[in-house]
Assembly symmetry: C2
Homo-oligomer: 346 residues x 2
């Protein structure tokens, strides 16, 4: 596998972005959506922040208040019975669950795809009661001349997927909730196929403990149905715990190519390729026997949630793809993968 | 509360239906959908069956095989490590989850709403890989002259909701999956409201351990979006663990009236009323402070899953509603509730 990590990796780090408040710290600039816009490469970066916490006895949890339009800080005592602080991302308190950080999106621009300018004025920020725990893991799909953004919103009501659109990456219009909880890693195909829009989704079945990829159809991007199961975890392979869509699928002469992520039973997140029928993307033609990118570099192995690479977008170039990905839930990194290597992985 | 249980209750019992095979037993005839059709009252009964099991050392699990179109029987050893047989409905084996019975639908007809003829030839039975663990808890919504049926399909891929329709209750046309996992207790409103169809849904958020009611819109009943949270469990009331839609909502002069179910922290299932804005049913106007029906009769307290009343449909009559409901996941029962009592419960 000739996967080539960018020598400048990580191309974006938490220190590249100032915190929202002096009492906050930026802990992640990761999992960016990516697209070309005019003569630039644009990332919609997930920026995660948390209150600086000098107290060993309690956690400080940031929560967006939709009424006051401000982030409030809640103290959770570490002595709380029946609580669990093992996962760095999540606090399981007695009767409530919290996230340890709050995420939102910032726009990063680049001419060369390696050096990015981050404009802090262009921000997609929590704005309603479905978004009180933050916005996560956007994907951008260009359809005609509109840029549609699917993004995850988290609140105590659940983990949902919302749709927004923009045509300038300065103003974003929210179009509503397209997946009710818990459903994330939703990516839109870039064109209608046989008269329907398609999206890959990732609903959860708690009863059967599965995190599988499904696919849905829509007449208009707003209303979705005709759901089908697409791909489950493969007990005998590298993708043996959870699978979910990553990048926006793109056309190849062999079918739709989707870069997806999988977690294995050691909670290691890797990337693979999935080939879907060009006329019926609910038909899986092939998937990678081995990952095309797995955590190996220092910045992938250690961070906020180590041993993880996770992509929300890639760019097609001649004979290769450029994958932007989150590394260890902390950094944004970039890698080039020859298209041939994706096909050879099947 | 002047809730009046039918003296003939339970109006349908498992012994009223012959098993599919001589080595099976019928263990439940419950949770019926209900509608008026021509001059009859029609129930779409959930019939649950399981293999007769003389073996104390293992469970016999019925699974529909979509390739052979037959029910196969799987043996699960009770000695299996990491397994759990505590819930009479579900077996948690080492790496798999099974249901202890398989359900499908049969049509029951009545002139008086109390004495039912059950025609075993009219059956909606599992027919594909999404339905291998059975069909559960249908609701019938008449829209114009079509009868739309939402029903739960269960398989190892999850608990989903499918749509079907009929205009004779002999032939049923499947229209696809409208909710991906886990999402059940989906009921359709009987008409368009301000240009959109509406459905109440019940997605699950495993991260936040919530089983709340949501509401969605559709242009055509097939594709759904614009999801909104409708009603969560109320920590301080009778509905403090899970809530879900029950009957098909109907119009009153005060708004849409929905008979919903709730489980409390003792896993007791009761029924209450919910009043929704007539022009915007995502607006909750009122809900019952106390249940309008809670388990009390012998056939509600003891059965397959005791201490449970659960409705999938009711009929409106002058000044009262007739609720058909599953009792203890075993029987079908009937009760009359004065409409005034529903409003007085708010």
């Amino acid at each position: 596998m000739a996967t080539l990590r960018c020598p400048e990796n990580p191309v974006i780090r938490p220190k590249d972005i100032p915190p929202l408040r002096t009492d906050f710290e930026v802990i992640g600039t990761f999992n960016p959506a990516v697209t070309r816009f005019n003569d630039e490469i644009i990332l919609l970066l997930r920026v995660a922040q948390r209150p600086i916490n000098p107290h060993p006895d309690f956690e400080l949890v940031p929560i967006y208040n939709a009424q006051s339009n401000e982030i409030e800080i809640k103290e959770i005592s570490r002595d709380c019975p029946d609580s669990n602080f093992d996962d760095p991302r999540i606090i399981y308190a007695a009767n409530e669950v919290f996230l340890t950080s709050i995420s939102y999106f910032q726009v990063a621009r680049s001419k060369d795809g390696i050096n990015f300018d981050i404009d802090t004025s262009e921000v997609l920020f929590p704005a309603n009661n479905y978004e009180t725990f933050g916005l996560e893991d956007a994907r951008i799909t260009r359809i005609d001349n509109e840029y549609y953004i699917t993004y995850v919103a988290v609140s105590p009501m659940g983990v949902i997927t919302c749709l927004a659109k923009t045509n300038d990456f300065k103003n974003f219009e929210r179009l509503g909730i397209i997946s009710c909880p818990d459903n994330k890693d939703v990516v839109l195909f870039p064109e209608k196929i046989k008269g329907s829009y398609y999206a890959i989704t990732r609903p959860v079945t708690p009863l059967f403990s599965k995190h599988d990829m499904w696919i849905a159809k829509s007449p208009d991007l707003l209303f979705w149905g005709q759901h089908k199961h697409l791909l489950g975890a493969d007990q005998k392979s590298w993708d043996n715990l959870k699978v979910g869509a990553g990048a926006v699928p793109f056309k190849t002469d062999q079918g739709w190519l989707e870069i997806y992520h999988a977690a294995d039973k050691e909670n290691c997140y890797s990337l693979g390729a999935l080939l879907l029928d060009i006329n019926d993307p609910s038909r899986v033609l092939a998937k990678s026997k081995k990952p095309i990118l797995k955590p190996q570099a220092d910045y992938e192995l250690e961070g906020f949630f180590g041993n993880a690479v996770f992509s929300c977008g890639c760019l097609e170039e001649k004979e290769k793809i450029i994958i932007y990905y989150g590394a260890a839930d902390k950094y944004t990194a970039r890698a080039e993968v020859p298209l041939k290597d994706c096909f050879d992985s099947f």
